[in-house]
Amino acid sequence: MSGTSRAAIDGPAGGDRPVVEAVNISKRFGSTVALSEAGIVVRRGETHALVGRNGAGKSTLVSILSGLTAADAGAVAFDGRPAPPLGDRDAWRQRLACVYQKSTIIPTLTVAENLFLNRHARGSGRLIRWSELRRDAERLLATWSVEVDVRQPASTLSVEQRQFVEIARALSFGARFIILDEPTAQLDGAGISRLFTRIRDLRAQGVTFLFISHHLQEVYEICDQVTVFRDARHIVTAPVAELSRQALVAAMTGEDVTMPEADRRPPSPGAAVLLSVRDLVTRSGAEISLEVKAGEVVGIAGGGGSGKVEVAEAIVGLSCPAGGIVAVDGRVLRPGSVPDALAAGVGLVPQDRHREGLVPLLSIAENVTMTVPHRVGRHGIISPARRDGLARRTIADLAIKASGPQVPVSDLSGGNQQKVVMGRALASHPKLLVLITPTAGVDVRSKQTLLGVVEDVRRRGTAVLVVSDELDDLRICDRVAVMFQGRVVHETAQGWSDNDLVAAMEGVDLHHV
């Protein structure tokens, strides 16, 4: 990998001037220091990773680099020339483009119109020529081999297609430097590998990337250089190949972090079966049967479209299954009924915390106690004191960074929001805890805390079901069932190798190829 990166850096294009060079950048927001004399240098043709925990200053740097915010001090230069004034959006767009986590696609308009928004092809009388616009859009997408029908509304695009469309749009402005802000956060394994193929192709065509990610293995897979930010400061920039994983994590956190792994002790054979799923068939046709005993952690792994999320949602009552029986501690759940699942003792961390997990404007206390009104009050009247007490315990147990239970969850970082969701799942002292992609979009430390909590819960005798394609999540499981295209294709006890598990999720059997 270092060989290719060397070639890219020393390549012919653009001499040795860095594509972007930010020096001594400082930025304050009120009393918080977002960046303190930080900087970054990205050379032409490389794929440069920017990593750091939530709050390290990555997003501030991105918004300064993309000209959305002015730095208090310091200088930004593109190709050795000083950055254009903030108001000149077109000039910025020719220098770099940013694909944010939040979509900048307008869902109600067609793909073609999104690509040429506010620069539609026009004919006589300055009227838009739709046929020409569509042809332009088709040509643009074909240039970058994005296979999407330009006439479809953008709302029908998958996350992956949307990113490709956004990248193509960015390139059409003439930018050859693209910032990808956590592009893999919402993609499954196959989508990620397609995205990486695309990034490699574009890099071969001379496009430079700044890649922001929480997933360190992605940094190792796709990037040449890595820059680490911590606490608003630049910590280190080094070729990826020269920085070990341990050293990288240490640079991000300022200390060593090791992810929790399952104890090597299997649960006692006599433990009660707390979850029993028999012949469950979801509406989309995924099938599963499994049992989870008290104190056991079982994983369901699989890529997007494997049906793992669908079966999990059917188990907890979020969706009504087509058939099969789910029993929690001997009690058969009414299909498709969340209240019944809650009453039976199921705690859930749903897949999308923004959509199903949290009410963003309500406080931590209200969110945490949402499923357990009976524990914070009597006769339907809620006691604020008891509610806040419960929330304070959750904040302490899960190390949520917040000044108190009254803070609205919309003010928290992603990792801390996810802890609130976890706290809510645990508030009812569940017999069964179901976690769907519990660490998606969460920084390294929060991930460690969240997974550590699972271990504690397990020790207290709760059955845990982890539904994820994230290897760190699955590592805490006693055994893992791998789903592919709606069927369990592989079951493995703890001690699996990463390669085997990933291969099984992708539907590839490494031993029989």
């Binding site: 959006r89 077109d90 767009r93 939040k102 979509s103 900048t104 696609i105 307008i106 869902p107 109600t108 308009l109 119109e113 928004l117 506010n118 620069r119 539609h120 026009r122 300055r126 009227l127 838009i128 739709w130 296979e147 999407v148 029908d149 006439r151 479809q152 509304p153 029908t156 998958s158 992956e160 297609q161 394994g189 196959a190 989508g191 990620i192 590998s193 397609r194 990486f196 193929t197 293995q217 190792y220 897979e221 290897l471 990463d498 390669n499 990933v502 291969a503 992708e506 590839v508 190829v513």
Partner: protein, 346 residues
């Protein structure tokens, strides 16, 4: 780990990402504009069966004229709704703009003390339009500049403007309007009332502007995702402001038409009309959440609504039941458009 992923990536290429939906749904998407056309034809047939008068040219002109003023309000509301805002005050602007013009122009000697006789007759139309522009600009100031909630701002404006009209008129009706005010509402061009021409021309202009100009598409972009619109270089605040002003000017113009037709400006002119306006826009496929809908769709919405009312009148339904039936028509039309549109309405 990295070995595995790249190994997977280099095995037979992954299945192509789910590509375009079948062409059928694309065709349907483009036909959504025409979703109400079958309903309009059906109502025309029913109307003809109920009473053959329905399809005579006189009756058709009658329907078009009776809807022309409300239709312009629907056009105005559509422009605002597409940007993701809403303007309730249009119905009060509809009454206030001609009311102010009449108040400034008419002679108190002729009208039992109403009016000021401050301006010459020729000022009528400019004053009407100016009042509309000022109301729109003030709405824009509160909504765009100060970031207040559009629904509540325009609700407040609805009440304030209605109160203003009631105040200056003493709750009475302005009459003895100058010819310059009554011309557009009462003239006939090529055998068809001018108000029909005006409303049809405005709709045609709306279709072109919203469908074929960058400014018009900017309205959709803002309603669909305002941050993305800003990132695309659209001056979102300015466009919103202009949209609100244009909508209010259109409402003022509609008010001028109806004042001209009735040769009077009652203090309650337009009161309660906003509900019908919203209903027509939503029936016509305009989303209350912004970013969706078309001017042509809005036109079919208002046309369907008025055709049904006309059929009911021809069928001899007593006037006391009109409101009940109006409401029912709105609900039924919503259900019908939900079925033909196929998607949950927002």
């Amino acid at each position: 780990m990295s070995e595995t992923l790249s190994a997977v990536a280099s095995t037979p290429p992954p299945p192509p990402s789910p590509s375009a939906p079948p062409p059928r749904s694309l065709a349907l998407a483009r036909l959504r504009d025409l979703a109400l056309v079958p309903a309009i034809i059906a109502v025309a047939i029913v109307g003809f069966i109920v009473n053959p008068v329905f399809l005579t040219s006189d009756n058709i002109v009658n329907v078009l004229q009776s809807m022309s003023e409300i239709a312009i309000l629907v056009l105005a509301q559509t422009i605002v709704l597409i940007t993701g805002k809403m303007d309730l005050s249009l119905e009060s602007t509809f009454g206030l703009a001609p009311g102010i013009a009449a108040w400034l122009i008419i002679d108190p000697a002729l009208t039992r003390g109403l009016g000021l006789d401050l301006l010459p007759d020729a000022w009528a139309v400019p004053v009407v339009l100016l009042v509309g522009a000022l109301v729109g600009a003030f709405n824009g100031l509160l909504i765009v500049r100060f970031g207040l909630n559009g629904f509540v701002v325009t609700l407040g404006m609805l009440i304030v403007l209605r109160g203003l009209l009631t105040g200056i008129s003493g709750g009475q009706t302005f009459f003895a309007l100058p010819a310059s005010m009554t011309y557009l509402g009462s003239a006939t061009w090529w055998g068809v009332p001018a108000s029909i021409w005006v409303s049809l021309l405005l709709f045609a202009a709306g279709i072109v502007v919203l469908g074929y100009t960058r400014a018009g598409r900017a309205l959709y972009a803002i309603g669909g995702n305002v941050d993305a619109a800003r990132a695309a270089g659209i001056r979102t605040d300015r466009v919103l402001w202009i949209a609100l002003i244009v909508a209010s000017v259109l409402a003022a113009l509609a008010g001028l038409l109806i004042s001209g037709r009735l040769a009077a400006v009652p203090a309650a002119q337009g009161s309660g009309a906003i509900f019908q306006v919203f209903a027509a826009a939503v029936i016509g496929g305009v989303s209350l959440n912004g970013g969706k809908g078309s001017v042509f769709g809005a036109f079919t919405g208002v046309l369907l609504l008025f055709m049904i009312i006309n059929v009911l009148t021809l069928a001899g339904v007593p006037a006391q039941w009109t409101n009940f039936l109006n409401g029912t028509v709105i609900l039924v039309a919503l259900v019908v458009s939900r079925i033909t549109g196929g998607k949950a309405q927002t």
